[in-house]
Structures are given as structure tokens and as C-alpha cells.
Subunit: 201 residues, 4 copies
């Protein structure tokens, strides 16, 4: 299904569109931070759940952008499957502002935390689809293969942590949030402990 | 009316601007998904019409982006007609968030569904104008001609389906929505049944 | 004040940023179109002033984007003056959504129309500054000079029409709106009657 | 930690994403300018604190964009540190619309001014981190070194002014605002008086 004559320029335009969507998603979340009506400084602290939810989601969407950026470095052509798996990823990410605002407004209640973790799990599935597409049609170099192996391991681990978080939310919402924060931490670390744990390089 | 000295770079900037506008259109629709005030989980289900309208419109705008991306692959120069037909397409697409929110808030009522189908029909007309412009001034290769023939056939079929949907809405709004969903389905399919029906390759 | 080593790439990034800002300005205006609470179809017609204001402003911002696009085709380097005159233009354009919503919500009242024409005049001044900068530092070809002469003539004419509109608003707001619409019309026409009037080619 | 195979194209994509985020930040601030409900013209003047806060923040974010644009001209490769220090900068900038709206709605009260200055100080720290990363991994030419020295001097001076402003806010909020405006003024001036003061070229 690859379009003839579409190479780096086509990939670049898909990237540019994705960048636009992610930039909007990451920025509109701050609109939830309404200044309190009362002028006293103490009232600002009542915003902490909304602020914390914003920080978490910002880190989360930022990690997706960074991974997306690296993954697209291995894409070489635009296929139907690439475009639609990418659109699916952007769709699942577009739900993050909603569940973030739900989480912040309901002060990390059990229900809100559970929904938040679901919203974190959905892009993980879409990302696996996108990665499978790029692995099949993109660059087949040694670097590309090593990259795909490493990130797949991280992805499986993240999915496992989100699923655990969803279960642990019924014990305490903060255990669920801790799982989400742990996933973020793993992505930040340059050489992931997961790799060493599973014998990766 | 073509501007001297504008080639791929000019086309690229029109594309980039269009990507920005479409990225915003597709993302601001999610702002309609306000979290319910009550913390109970059951209240989330009351959001289903707004969510369904969002999914439909996301798919719809995404299809336009994909088609726009392919169509611009055949554009070779920036003319007055290209810029303004493109602006007309973006204008009609910018009405989608409005009719989506109307559809979701009025629970797929007859009036809202009818208006939604009108909003789907308008970009189809603007797209025909844009395609006519690109066909006339753009690449004249065999691939380009085959591409234009195939998409014109799809476009006529989609227009016919939207018009039918507008009539069927007076029987039941869900028949109208079904027509819109059917159009989306046709664009998703790689080799459209429409092509085979009409003897296309 | 020109930065060493910045050529087409620097100009491209200023363009890309401007495109992003203009894309957001042109799109957030549609957020003013709130669906009416009552489900009856007839209630939709009460939105006409907001819709008309949106159409006018969309055309207005679109014309600025098109002119900006053509003008930057003659820019060759990024200077302090270029960046800041461009930022001034984007600032004045960013006031358009405000005055559009003022115009729509107050049903084209005298005050709202007057403010709207002021908002249309401000970007015209910023544009003259930007054009002066690009004329001085950009391409000096025959085409570039002819282009600058032609658009300067159009700009002077537009400024004159806006100023007249501001005065005529005190007779009737619709005369002011007519002046704004007339300016838009002039920019749409490929070979402007203004050119012929003043002996331009 | 540098990714193999990422050069100018990788840097370009980080720039494009940053441009998108900054374009949204600078534009959504205007959404705070709600038209007054009453149609009288006099009511418009009640918007002056919100408008003044918007002008200040627009200038502030615009200065960051211009500096970011120049700084990235010296970046040559995308590293983990580059991506995350850039994300940190964008995060701190994304808080500007919040503190701007707080400043405008509470009419430059002491608390709001103090918070606003904090929000101005945070991106300064993130910028220092980003600049340190680019200085270490980017271009090492004579121009690049001179550039980094000059902007570091300006950055130290700006940080000092913001900190002074935070203290002076307890005397009068307007002294705090004056400090912020002074910083903006210094960045606008092509050859900064700070350079001459400290013997820079």
C-alpha cells in the first residue's frame, strides 16, 4: 500500500502533523489551571491536585513525543498502516487532557485514578502497533533492530506496570499513581535498569 | 497567477499551515469532553454521545488529513487558486468542532444529525475545488492521473452517501449517522470496493 | 544586527513559528460558536452575527497569511528588525479573536464595529513595518521591487478604507463592515483594480 | 547518549515541536480577554489589567522564542540532555498563561505579582540548563563561544533583576513589574548596555 514517490518528505509531513497535535495536547492541559477567585495566596494551594496531575501528564506526553521522535528516525516510507497507526496513537493521546482534568478535579479519587491509568494504557497499545509497522517497513539496519528490541522490552514492562497500577488502585489510588510515576522514571533513565535486568545491552 | 520562484518550498509552507490548522481542529474537539461534576464512575457513561461524536469527527478529520497529504504530493506550484481553495477547505473543516459539539450535546437529535451531515458535505465540495486546481496545475504523470480518477470516484460516492444520509435523517437520525460511518469505512479500506464496483484498478 | 550563519533555514523557522500562531488564531475563533442550549433548529439562526463575524475574520486572517507567505518569499536573512516586526504583526493579529467575539456578541453594534476596524488597522501598520524591513534587507531583484511597489499601493488603499470605515461607523455600523469587506475583496482579486487605477502593471 | 544518525534533521524536529508549543502558549493567553457583557464602550477599560498582563507576557514569551531560535542555531546533535532540558523549558513557559491570568484577574496584587515573577524566574533556570547542554555538545566555533558568553551575562543579569523584583514586590507590586519590564527592555536592545557595563563586545 506504499504511495509511490513518498520518501523522507512524506515521513517528515507525518512527523510535523504529529508534532502539532502533541504540542496542542501538552499545552491545553494547562488551561485546567484556573486561578482561584479569592486573591489570598493560601488559596493557591487548593490547586495542588490539578497541578500534580498536570506535571504527571506533561511528563507522560513528553516521553511519548521523545519516543515517537526516535521511532520515526527509523521510518523510511509512508504506508496506509503507518498513517493510521499513527492516527490511532494521536487519538489515544488526545484523551489524556480529559482524564488529567478528571484526575485533578476529583482529587486523585479511586475512580479517577483508574480511568487515568486506562488512558495511559491505551497509547501503549497504539504505540506497539505503530512500532510493528515501522519495524516491518522501515530501516533494517543493526542499529534499528537493536533499538526495536530495547524499546519493545521497555514497552512490555510499562504495560505490565500500568496493569498492576490498575489493580493496586483498588488498594489505594496512590499506589496506582506510583506505578505511573515509576514508568515515567524508567523512560527518563538513559540506560534502563530493565535492560540490565533482562540482559539487554 | 503563479508566483515566480515558488516551487516545492512554497507548497511545503501551504502544507505546514494546513497541518497546523487541522491539528488544532482535531484536538480542540476533545475539549468538549468535560469531566462530570459528580465523582461516581457511573456518571461517566452520560458522556457517551459526546464521546461517540468525538470519535466520528476525529476519524472524519483524520481521513481528510490523509487525503490532503496524498493530494499535495501531486502539487508542484503555489497559485492563487491553490491557496484559496485550500483556505476554503480549512474553513469548512473548522466548522466540524461546532457541529460535533452540537451533535454530542443534543444526543444525536434529528436536527443535530442533519446539521452534522451538512458540515460533512461542505468540505467535500471544497475538496473537489482543491483537487480540480491541483489536477490542472500539478503533476501530469500517469500515476497522478490514475490517482485523481480514483479519488474523484470515491468523492462522488461519498457526496452521494452524505446526501442520502441527510434525507434518511428524517426517517431516523441513526440512519444518517450510519451513512457518515459508511463513508469513513470506504476511505479506510485500502482498495475501495467502489473502485471494483465501477471497474477501477 | 544580522546573525551570522542564518540564511534560508533561519527564515524558514520564523515562517514556521508564524504559521503556528496564525493557524491557532484562525482556529480558536470558531470556539466562539457555542451550540445553543435549546434543541430547536430555529435557535441556530440566533448565531448569525457570531457566524458572520467569524467568516469576516477568517477571510481577514487568511489574507494576512497569504500576504505574509508571499512577502517572506523575498526575505533572505533573519535580522533583529525582521523578528520583532514579525512578532508585532503576530501580536496585532492575536487581538482579532477578541474583537471578533466582541463584534459577534454585541451584534455589530456601533462600538463593537469601531473596535473591530481598529483591530484591522493595527496589523496593517505592523505589516508596513515588516515589509519595510524585508525590502531593505531582502532580495533586490526586479520582481521583488515590483512586488513591493504593488503591495504598498494595496496597503495604502486598505488603510484608507479602514480609516473611512471607522468614520462611517458613526453613520451606520454596516457601512464600516462594508469597508472591511471591500478591503478583503480587493485582496482576493488577482489583478487589483487599485493597480489599474494608479497605473500599476 | 547521542542517537546515531541524528543531525540537522533531528535538531529541526525538536525546534519544530518547540515552535508549536510556544505558538500555542503565546496565543491562548489572548483567550483571557473576554469581551465585557455590557455593550457600553466604557466597560472596555475595565479590561486594562488583563490587557497589560497579556502585553507583558507576550513580550516575555516572544523574547524566549527569539533566544531559543538563536541558541538552537548552535546545536548540532540531539541528545537525551538536549531533549529533556528543552522539555523543562517548555514546561516552565507553559505556566506563563496561568500566572498571567492570575495577574490580570487580581489586578496586579502583591501576591499575583510575586507569583508572576516566580514564573518568570523558572524558565530562566531551565534556559541555563539548556544552554549548558548546547554549549557542551554543540558547535565550538569562535562565534558560538562569544554568543554563549554574551547571553550568559545577560541571563545572570536577568535572574538578578527578577530576584530583586520579587523582593521589591513587598514594597510595591509595581516595582516588581518594573523589574520584569526592565529585563524585557534589555533583551530588546541589540547591543545590550549590560555588555558594555561588563566590558563585553
Amino acid at each position: 500500500m506504499s504511495e509511490p514517490g513518498e520518501g523522507a518528505r512524506g515521513v517528515g509531513r507525518v512527523e510535523a502533523f504529529s508534532d502539532g497535535v502533541v504540542a496542542i495536547i501538552i499545552t491545553i492541559m494547562v488551561l485546567e489551571l484556573h486561578p482561584p477567585v479569592a486573591p489570598e495566596f493560601g488559596r493557591l494551594w487548593t490547586l495542588w491536585p490539578i497541578f500534580l496531575a498536570y506535571v504527571l501528564s506533561y511528563a507522560y506526553v513528553a516521553i511519548y513525543w521523545v519516543n515517537h521522535h526516535r521511532l520515526f528516525g527509523h521510518a523510511t516510507c509512508v504506508t496506509n498502516a503507518l498513517v493510521w497507526s499513527n492516527m490511532a496513537l494521536l487519538f489515544t493521546l488526545s484523551l489524556v487532557p480529559f482524564s488529567t482534568s478528571y484526575l485533578g478535579e476529583h482529587h486523585f479519587s479511586r475512580e479517577a485514578t483508574w480511568l487515568y491509568l486506562v488512558t495511559m494504557l491505551l497509547p501503549a497499545f497504539a504505540y506497539v502497533w505503530l512500532q510493528t509497522v515501522i519495524r516491518r517497513t522501515g530501516s533494517q539496519s543493526h542499529d534499528a533492530r537493536a533499538y526495536h528490541q530495547q524499546t519493545t522490552r521497555k514497552g512490555v514492562f510499562a504495560t505490565f506496570l500500568y496493569a498492576s497500577g490498575m489493580a493496586l488502585t483498588f488498594v489505594s489510588p496512590w499506589l496506582g499513581i506510583a506505578c505511573a510515576a515509576l514508568v515515567a522514571l524508567f523512560w527518563f533513565l538513559p540506560t534502563s535498569p530493565v535492560d540490565r535486568l533482562f540482559g539487554g545491552d
